[in-house]
């Protein structure tokens, strides 16, 4: 674990103000996913705890290490980064700067003294959301848009399908990879296709493409809805997004930062599922809207499933094989 610097955040004159560095992944800010969520967590923490933020947007994976070095060289005490592909760069730079700390999210780094690694069980939230979708669908068909094929995306997608099948064994999930995280237009076209093919809910887990999905839900008209991701995204289309598989990266970032500042952070991996408050299903704050499609019984049913996931009665499948086995 790292040595904690003074916690007063430089409010008092002479003390050095803490500097937090933030290196985005190649999605950059505005990706509607990690980076935005992380940034909102950092902003919140900086407002409350008072520290300076230095940010670098990465253009490619090969730059990660250099950008981490850059924020450290520029005076950062702690660096934050989010994205699975950061793992190698984090290890490398953490070793070069033993007196600095890296808070890594989604990047699995173990056994490095100055790296705090936070992982999430996206599949759990996805599973519960899938179960919800299975219950509320009127057409028996729901759509799912993923970004670019990757283990994390597969995990979430499989979790969703498995959840759906538990509550709606006769229905079907149409899953499509957009092949990109940042083509809103394509996201919309794919969602349109899914709605045309009878899906009444489309779950979106494809970064900025999600914005396209939400727009498509409006165009598709009555009875068509979307399911969001990230921090809920309800503000992106309050009328159409009923529920979301949220990943509370912002909260994790906030917590990790305050732990760091108070000197309590500990190195190693923490994995957060629903139980640990890392991921969850979240409903549109407009309860009336939620109730128009989901009765209280349905919500109770979903809640029961959620509890089963939490206490391990349901083991959420991770891979395609797991999923096939699960569905049997």
């Amino acid at each position: 674990s790292s040595e904690a610097p003074k916690t007063d955040g430089g409010q008092t004159g002479g003390d050095k103000k803490i500097v937090v560095g933030f290196v985005t992944d190649t999605g950059g800010l505005g990706d509607q996913g990690y980076n935005d969520a992380v940034y909102s967590g950092i902003t919140k923490a900086s407002e409350e705890l008072g520290f300076e933020v230095k940010m670098v947007e990465s253009k490619e994976i090969g730059d990660y290490a250099n950008n981490l070095r850059a924020v450290f060289n520029d005076g950062a005490d702690v660096a934050i980064c989010a994205g699975a592909s950061f793992a190698d760069a984090v290890v490398q730079v953490a070793n070069e700067y033993p007196d600095k700390t890296i808070l890594a999210f989604d990047a699995e780094v173990d056994g490095v003294a100055n790296v705090v690694s936070s992982m999430f069980k996206e599949e759990e939230a996805a599973f519960v959301l899938g179960a919800f979708a299975g219950l509320v669908t009127k057409t028996g068909t729901v759509g799912y848009i993923a970004g670019v094929e990757s283990p994390l995306q597969e995990r979430a997608k499989n979790g969703f399908e498995a959840g759906f099948m538990t509550t709606n064994p006769t229905g079907k999930v149409i899953g499509i990879y957009a092949g990109t995280y940042n083509d809103v237009g394509k996201g919309k076209e794919i969602a349109n296709t899914l709605y045309t093919q009878g899906a009444d809910y489309v779950a979106s887990f494809a970064g900025a493409c999600n914005l396209g999905v939400f727009q498509a839900a409006t165009d598709a008209g009555e009875g068509k809805y979307a399911l969001g991701a990230a921090l809920g995204q309800f503000d992106k289309n309050p009328e159409k997004i009923i529920a979301s598989q949220v990943k509370t990266v912002d909260l994790s970032v906030y917590n990790a930062l305050s732990e760091f500042i108070s000197g309590k952070s500990s190195a190693g991996i923490t994995t957060r599922g629903i139980n640990e408050g890392g991921v969850d299903i979240m409903y549109n704050p407009n309860t009336e809207l939620v109730n128009t499609v989901a009765s209280d019984e349905i919500l109770a049913q979903v809640d029961a499933i959620r509890t089963q996931v939490i206490n391990g009665e349901i083991k959420v499948p991770l891979t395609k094989e797991d999923l096939a086995a699960f569905n049997k």
């Binding site: 230095k54 940010m55 670098v56 947007e57 253009k59 994976i61 090969g62 250099n66 850059a70 592909s85």
Partner: protein, 360 residues
């Protein structure tokens, strides 16, 4: 002496263009309420301010030099290779294959093999557009664009399936063996990848190839006039294909350098954009290999510096992107001056001729 003079006059316009771009950039910076002088000093500090900064600037230039050379050689033969990115990705894949799966070789064997693999894979990826061009007269622009997309998909697929790392939460190949990693010169803050030397050597080789060899003569002849070349026993098809293969190979080398030097492993979704950057770099350098080194360095200075500009002054890197565009536009417009000058040169030549004839 004459050479120095010539170089000076050749450098004049690019320098003016760069100056204009900086003026333009300051307007943008001012519009955000920041101080341009502060921003630019951060930019230069980030690019040159410390041994670490200098190392980064040089390291960043490595793949850019290779892709710049790649576009140059194809351009000498009048094909516009927009497919550098795909060739780069494929070259990176080839280098990784050799770097990861060949084990137990000494570095002196392993590293050259891995680099060679980068060249061969990149070159192979350019063979298809080359064949389409010479067999079917398919425009290289369109075929290389298509081949980019195909390369991304194919390599991504291969990394996701057969060549996936043993354990990883994000998709990548395994680490390249240390015997295939390009060494760094480390000294204090200095951390310079030997790849920069390879890049400079490649530029020199290319210059020699173009200026001093039969092959270079033929490639340029075909670029200058395909019909005349064919009529004089220089096969335009052969040379177009060869120049595209070398071009693809160089782009592949850019990928190899990046993987074997910089990142150490090939990630899924690897397309760093250097292949596209090669186009303005080569065109700015007017296809001159030595010029490519300079323009690549310019780009890398701007980009490396942009990071510091962002961290310490909070000025976004997008300004640097726009400035790169402005530099290129000014250079393109510069042709109005060179053409004017050339015309004048020709006229004075004609006058001399007339005098000669008149003296008869």
């Amino acid at each position: 002496m004459d050479k120095i003079k010539k170089t000076c006059s050749e450098l004049k316009m690019p320098l003016i263009a760069i100056a204009f771009a900086f003026v333009f950039g300051s307007l943008l910076i001012l519009s955000t309420g920041k101080n341009p002088i502060e921003a630019y000093s951060a930019l230069f500090r980030g690019a040159f301010g410390s041994p670490a900064a200098i190392s980064q600037t040089l390291n960043k230039a490595i793949p850019l030099i290779f892709t710049g050379l790649s576009v140059s050689i194809a351009y000498q033969c009048k094909s516009l290779n927009i497919g550098g990115e795909g060739q780069l990705v494929f070259g990176a894949f080839g280098a990784s294959l050799v770097g990861v799966y060949l084990k137990g070789l000494p570095m002196l064997v392993h590293l050259p093999l891995a680099i060679l693999a980068g060249f061969i894979f990149g070159g192979l990826w350019a063979v298809i557009p080359g064949l389409l061009k010479i067999k079917k007269d398919v425009n290289t622009v369109i075929s290389t664009i298509m081949m980019n997309y195909v390369a991304f998909s194919v390599v991504s697929f291969l990394i996701n399936t057969y060549f996936k790392a043993d354990k990883s939460d994000f998709v990548a190949m395994n680490w390249v063996e240390t015997t295939a990693r390009i060494p760094f010169i480390q000294n204090g803050g200095l951390r310079i990848c030997i790849g920069i030397i390879f890049a400079i050597i490649a530029a020199i080789i290319l210059r020699i190839l173009l200026q001093k060899t039969v092959l270079g003569y033929e490639i340029k002849a075909v670029g200058g006039n395909q019909n005349a070349s064919n009529s004089n026993g220089i096969s335009s098809k052969k040379n177009i294909l060869i120049s595209l293969i070398i071009s693809g190979g160089l782009a592949g080398l850019a990928g190899a350098m990046d993987i074997l030097g910089n990142s150490g492993k090939l990630y899924d979704g690897y397309n760093p954009g250097y292949g596209f950057d090669g186009i303005p770099i080569a065109l700015l350098a007017k296809g001159n290999p030595v010029g490519v080194i300079l323009t690549a360095l310019l780009f890398s200075v701007l980009r490396t510096g942009a990071v510091t500009m962002q961290t310490s002054v909070g000025v976004s890197r997008t300004i640097v992107d726009a400035m790169q565009g402005v530099i290129i536009l000014f250079i393109a417009a510069e042709y109005i001056f060179t053409i004017y000058k050339k015309a004048r040169l020709n006229r004075t030549k004609m006058i001399e001729e007339k005098k000669l004839e008149g003296a008869q």
